[in-house]
């Protein structure tokens, strides 16, 4: 495999260094040579997205995407409408920030049949697509690990994300590949190839799966600390022609409790060694 020899494609999600206000993250990322930033909406709270976008670019970083929209399913029309409104706001924020992509955690409602949630996701995407297109913002369907099928996403494999992106058939819709969610899937190489062929790979996220994993949400590992073959999956993604950012997205109570400066150095080291 081709090793990564510099940080020119390294992007970090603001949530990865959650204890830092975004202004600190911008400065610290830039200082160690990180080239891209994916902004979580919480990090924008009380701030003007246009202004934050300027700050990021002035520091020499690219705004890679905004996390996150989605959560389309709802038990009634009112909650589904609220989701559409919120997704349009996310698209507006992305446009103001200068982010070319909104990452979607598509949603699921405990007890609502998954097939119904999937239909509501597809309908919701179709409804907000014109607004995204008119803003020049793309929407990225991120398949989530099956352990989130109860309440976070009814889209749990690359195959499902590919099916939906192809059904919507719009240049403004694609797929986000995240190794944490997908590494276990025996169909992953084939579905990544299919996604690339359709021109649908919009982003690539990495982290690691720890053994044992002690929390379903916030126990992700740094690359190399778990069992995910990140470099191998990256090769599958790059074999389709993808040469975009490699985004480090780690939710971890353990790492958030560390000194974030040391953690940032550890991310860079792990990226060069294991990504």
């Amino acid at each position: 495999m081709m090793p990564l020899t510099d940080t020119s494609r390294l992007c970090i999600h603001t949530i990865t260094t959650k204890p830092w206000p975004i202004e600190t993250a911008i400065n610290q990322y830039a200082a160690v040579g990180v080239q891209g930033m994916t902004v979580w909406r919480q990090a924008l709270e009380g701030r003007d997205p246009t202004q934050v976008g300027h700050q990021i670019r002035e520091a020499g970083l690219s705004v890679v995407s905004l996390c996150r929209g989605g959560f389309f399913p709802g038990l009634d029309a009112k909650s589904r409408q609220a989701a559409l409104d919120d997704n349009r706001r996310a698209i507006d924020e992305a446009a103001a920030l200068g982010a070319p992509l909104v990452v979607l955690v598509c949603g699921a409602i405990p007890g609502q049949p998954l097939a119904e949630s999937r239909q509501q996701i597809q309908d919701g995407l179709a409804a907000v697509l014109p607004h995204a297109a008119s803003c020049g913002v793309k929407l990225g369907i991120e398949p989530l690990h099956p352990m989130y099928a109860d309440s976070r996403s009814a889209i749990n494999t690359m195959k499902q994300a590919n099916d939906m992106a192809e059904a919507l058939d719009s240049p403004a819709v694609g797929v986000v590949v995240d190794t944490y969610h997908l590494w276990w899937d025996p169909d992953l190489p084939a579905e990544i190839a299919r996604c690339g062929q359709a021109g649908n790979i919009l982003a690539f996220h990495i982290s690691d799966w720890r053994t044992p994993t002690e929390d379903l949400l916030n126990d992700r590992g740094l690359m190399g600390d778990g069992c995910i073959p990140n470099a191998e999956i990256r090769q599958w993604v790059e074999a389709t022609g993808f040469d975009g950012f490699i985004e480090v997205e780690i939710f971890s109570d353990r790492h958030w409790a560390e000194d974030q400066q040391s953690f940032l150095e550890a991310i860079k080291t792990a990226y060069l060694r294991f990504a």
Copy 2:
């Protein structure tokens, strides 16, 4: 859907009422009309399996299966040989107990490529199959939820289990369908139908998925306490002709801490209402 109107197909796994010694479980299950018992090997510790089998049948219960064999992958030949030896012992215990089936948690080694673990599982199955066949014991490949792909099973979907069972092509190998592991899979109805058509459905396990799930191993819910459409999945299984036991397998720190007598009553009620 056809509701269950009596307990004639109700089987409970000894692990579900872990605080009870197996002798207590036998008496209590029988007293409330449970008709089948799946025995976990821990429950046999210090006991003669032949004797325990007699006790179970004398109480009017069927011995449905023995849990569990498997864990075939290993980093070296020695550990893989130890796994074969242990699986042969499990087959012997099942034969002594009078259990027609050994349920397999197939295994995975953190960091070993899943494809390699899958090959080792298939090779391991092929190696112990003759012994199983000569003992009149079947081996059931149980696909495990993808959140266990790091260390418990590299077989994570019905499709993978079907592929492997069909490749081994022996009347002594089949598949165990467990709703906890499989409910999220969009291919589940089709793969259950395929499994039934091949004559490969050997057992059917139920429980529920709680929201939020607070522990990856021991936070399963009682049927009705989560989002798994157990009755719908049962219909898919029965549509293939399956009319065997419906096995309640719940690992739950929460329920193990309860009075087990009340929990047993709750299982029966939940079974009749939601299974």
